[in-house]
């Protein structure tokens, strides 16, 4: 019998004195989440395999500190997530991360939405008590879409894993080791990948952001508009971040059917919206020049010409080529229109080419 939540053995533990029953194999972090108990976590991400590298998710079990993201709940376990012992440890680990961080939240694109900044805030670490050298990189990644500011990277590995495990691309990985550990494309060339931006989505800090987002608006004065991506029939759910009536960023939420994943067009291809070359009404060529017309006029014109051609040369003189931007329903109607209204089987789709 396949293991489902129904057949799976349940185990009971207590977290901060609250008892909870979870399926065997559930981690302490997940169990705490189910109880609404917050445990900081910088390398954990629900979409990727467990890494266990940041160590900020430490909790106390029987007097010992264990990483909650990687430790499965055991029957009878007593977990404390907020004892002074683990809180101090956690605070100092965050402190260490901050000791190798640029501290330019003032101009950082991610401010207000940054998981590291949030922890510094929650633990009130103004300046780290541990001090020392910081990573500095001269060369900037020259790719067109993603700003990769690796000084801000906290080496959590989320981007590496989402690219490999979810997107299946493997465009980036760790290079060097120890203090110099660095996420980069092979040979530190410029990123040359699908530019899906899944890595940008999971990056907890401002190390990865959209190039076009910079200085266009952070979290304040942003109106979020949920809509559907116009690019293809998949119809991914997207959220437009609008500031002063201009789309400054596109994101997608993890609770959508596309689970927050987008492709390069949906995530980064929004600049056409305000582009001066964008067509906003139909054009008809008159005397060798295109002139703007109304939709009614344009549709009448097309219907007229279709009729003429069909009468003069027969329906097979016409052919329809549909677009992948249309939904399945659109495409169905399109072929129906060609077969039933025009009367030809000359119908094809751009996805075949």
């Amino acid at each position: 019998m396949p293991e489902t939540s129904l057949t799976k053995k349940m185990v009971r533990c207590s977290i901060n004195g609250v008892s909870v029953e979870v399926p065997e194999g559930t981690t302490i972090l997940e169990a705490a989440k189910a109880l609404g108990i917050y445990i900081p976590a910088l390398c954990y991400h629900p979409k990727i395999s467990i890494t266990g590298a940041c160590r900020v998710c430490l909790v106390e079990v029987d007097g010992a500190a264990v990483v909650s993201c990687a430790t499965p709940v055991e029957e009878g376990m007593t977990v404390i997530t907020n004892s002074p012992y683990v809180e101090e440890l956690r605070k100092d680990i965050i402190d260490l991360i901050l000791s190798d961080h640029p501290y330019d939240c003032m101009v950082c694109q991610k401010a207000g939405d940054c998981e590291l900044q949030e922890l510094a805030y929650l633990y009130q670490i103004r300046y780290p008590k541990f001090q020392g050298k910081k990573r500095m990189y001269k060369k900037r990644d020259g790719n067109p879409f993603i700003e990769r500011e690796m000084e801000k990277c906290i080496q959590c590995g989320r981007c590496v894993k989402i690219c490999d495990e979810v997107q299946g691309v493997g465009a980036i990985d760790f290079a060097y080791k120890g203090f110099d550990l660095k996420v980069c494309p092979p040979f530190e060339h410029d990123l040359d990948c699908e530019f899906c931006g899944q890595c940008v989505m999971v990056c907890p800090t401002g190390a990865l952001v959209g190039k076009d987002w910079i200085a266009r608006g952070r979290q304040m004065n942003i109106k979020k508009v949920d809509t559907v991506c116009p690019y293809c029939g998949c119809g991914c759910n997207i959220t437009l971040h609008v500031r002063n009536n201009e789309v400054v960023r596109v994101t997608s939420s993890p609770d959508t059917f596309n689970e927050g994943y987008l492709c390069v067009k949906g995530r980064f291809g929004y600049k056409f919206i305000n582009h001066p070359d964008r067509l906003k009404s139909p054009l008809i060529k008159r005397n060798g020049r295109f002139v703007e017309v109304s939709w009614d006029e344009a549709l009448d014109y097309v219907a007229e010409r279709f009729k003429e051609i069909k009468e003069r040369y027969g329906p097979d003189a016409l052919a329809g080529l549909s677009s992948a931007r249309c939904t399945v329903e659109d495409n169905y109607l399109f072929q129906k229109f060609f077969r039933a209204a025009i009367g030809t089987n000359n119908i094809d789709h751009c996805a075949r080419y």
């Binding site: 266990g52 160590r55 430490l58 990483v67 100092d92 680990i93 260490l96 541990f130 020392g132 060097y176």
Partner: protein, 587 residues
């Protein structure tokens, strides 16, 4: 070996080879042939290469055995061979001036060589030599007369603990692995730096142990994980595997038992972290050497996700001995919870540097003053660092302690890789701690925060102190970092990295304080804290120091007292060494 033979053994370990051992061996053969020695002395005369016997500074070491009478020559060079052959072999008079002296006996007599025993006696490239010493008998016994459970039971009863790091009970680890539901299992031999002499001197013992281990846990595939750079070890292990295959000790249906076993090599780079067992498995799988999370433990889910046992090469070398001589015999050596012997690389300020094997429980005093021959120039012992870079520093006051897993753990150290470095009064403890941290910081894989940034910040703090820029807050920071790293790091490297710092802060705090409060390095090592000055009343104005100073920091007229410009001085100490009139003060 029959008594009426002449047998010559030339050390051809890595060091023996580097010292010209091959040439020495060839010359012995040549001279013996040329003089028709066999015929002239009326006996069979054999010359063979053997592995390292530990005292590499005396290489090339050559044993001459005539009618059971042992003579050992040290520092043999090719030009010495002819005389030894002529005077000793032909005329029967050993060349006394070239033989080893009492210190050699000191070095060897207090050791207890059970795994290193055959090294330096048998020809590591000849399986027959190993077979003559009961080689592969333990394998035969295990496969034909014992069940895998019996083998595990015997290893458990022997009390053998891992020789590669944490000292986990080997038999118990095997039992956990054998109990797994998954039937495809792997067994890996971890060959570290300290194991090179074993691999070079007696490779068959490692292989025999590995096969027995495979049988015990139910694995039919073994791996030898070794650094590519250990060329000679690789060559001898490869050769030994081929010979074992030829004789049917490896392959299908070994000893007709139905048990199949094969061994593959997996090569690692120099990185220290490759030796950590989960990083090692990642390496075999072709991934980056970064440790995995535990649990699951390798014995449950290891290589390729299958139950896997990793043991150190020395651990495996003990297996044939345990199966052959029995757990009772084995467990008679050592202390209550630490059985058998342990191999160490003894180095640092002792007179005899080398590879030693000692029974568990032996005192540090015996190791340093007996085997090690005491401290160079009879200086005062300061501390002993045991367990490789992340071991702890044991102060002189504790040298009567017995060496075993429990005692070492109690004093904040580990048996680790089996390194043992001796420091004396001329060593600065802060610099020593800094030296080890520098290594560990460089070798941190960088995966987890406490180790990646903890080692970095620790190194910076220690550097600051050695440069005279330290403050009492830095001590606090070091202690806090130690606590974070040892509890929160992901793998053993980060967890043990603070050991040199913690132990030195415990036992040599006053040295830290001298650096911080008095801006003084008691051992006179930390350059930034040394000042060289010329004592006017002693200076004869000879000008030697002025000429030698590479920085041009010394000025003075001839026959007039000279002086040092502190702003230019680079503290190299050349002047101090050069002055014949002891007119330069170092403080």
């Amino acid at each position: 070996m029959a008594d009426d033979q002449i047998s010559i053994r030339v050390c051809l370990g890595t060091s023996g080879k580097a010292s010209g051992g091959e040439k020495v061996l060839t010359l012995f053969k040549m001279h013996i042939e040329r003089l028709h020695l066999d015929a002239r002395v009326g006996t069979r005369c054999s010359v063979k290469k053997v592995g390292c016997r530990g005292l590499c500074s005396r290489d090339v070491l050559v044993d001459v055995i005539i009618n059971g009478e042992h003579t050992t020559y040290q520092n043999v060079t090719p030009s010495m061979v002819e005389r030894i052959v002529k005077e000793h072999l032909l005329e029967g008079n050993p060349v006394d001036e070239w033989t080893v002296k009492e210190d050699y006996a000191e070095f060897t007599s207090r050791q207890y060589k059970i795994v290193l025993g055959p090294c330096g006696v048998i020809d590591p490239e000849n399986i027959d030599d190993y077979l003559k010493m009961n080689g592969y008998r333990a394998l035969k016994k295990a496969l034909t007369r014992m069940t895998p459970e019996d083998v595990i039971e015997e290893v458990k009863r022997s009390g053998l603990r891992g020789r590669g790091g944490s000292g986990f009970l080997t038999g118990l680890k095997w039992e956990i692995c054998r109990a797994q539901k998954e039937k495809t299992r792997y067994i890996i031999c971890n060959v570290g730096e300290v194991n090179r002499a074993l691999a070079e001197g007696n490779p068959h013992a490692i292989i025999e142990g590995l096969i027995i281990g495979g049988y015990a846990i139910g694995a039919s595939q073994g791996y030898i994980f070794i650094r590519e750079r250990y060329h000679l070890s690789v060559e001898r292990l490869r050769n030994a595997i081929a010979q074992a295959q030829e004789r049917g000790f490896l392959g299908e249906n070994i000893f007709g038992s139905g048990f199949n076993f094969n061994i593959e090599f997996s090569f690692g780079t120099e990185a220290f972290i490759c030796g950590e067992e989960t990083a090692l498995m990642e390496t075999i799988e072709g991934k980056r050497a970064m440790p995995r999370l535990r649990p699951p433990y390798p014995a449950e889910k290891g290589l390729w996700g299958k139950p896997t046992i990793i043991n150190n090469a020395e651990t495996f070398s003990n297996i044939p001995i345990i199966i052959g001589k029995g757990a009772v015999w084995f467990s008679s050596i050592g202390t209550e919870h630490s059985k058998g012997t342990k191999v160490f690389t003894l180095s640092g300020k002792v007179r005899n540097n080398g590879l030693v094997e000692v029974p568990m429980g032996i005192s540090f005093r015996t190791i340093v003053y007996g085997i090690g021959g005491g401290i160079e120039e009879d200086r005062r012992l300061k501390a002993i660092q045991v367990g490789g870079p992340s071991g702890g520093l044991i102060p002189e006051s504790m040298i009567d302690m017995g060496l075993d897993y429990e005692n070492l753990l109690k004093v904040g150290s580990i048996i680790g890789s089996g390194g043992m470095v001796v420091f004396d009064e001329t060593d600065c403890i802060v610099s020593v701690a800094r030296f080890f941290l520098e290594f560990l910081q460089r070798e941190s894989c960088g995966k987890c925060v406490p180790c990646r940034l903890g080692t970095t910040r620790m190194l910076e703090l220690l550097t600051k102190i050695t440069e005279g820029r330290g403050s009492m807050k830095d001590i606090e920071a070091l202690e806090r970092l130690s606590a974070i790293m040892s509890t929160a790091s992901l793998c053993g490297l980060g967890r043990t990295a603070p050991n040199p710092v913690i132990t030195s802060l415990t036992h040599f705090r006053e040295e830290y304080l001298a650096h911080i409060k008095e801006k003084r390095c008691p051992a006179g090592v930390c350059k930034a804290l040394i000042t060289y000055t010329i004592l006017e009343d002693l200076c004869k104005g000879c000008g030697v120091c002025l000429r030698r100073c590479p920085a041009g920091a010394i000025t003075g007229e001839r026959k007039m007292p000279h002086s040092i410009n502190q702003a230019l001085c680079v503290k190299c100490g050349v002047c101090f060494e050069a002055c014949k009139f002891k007119a330069i003060k170092k403080e």
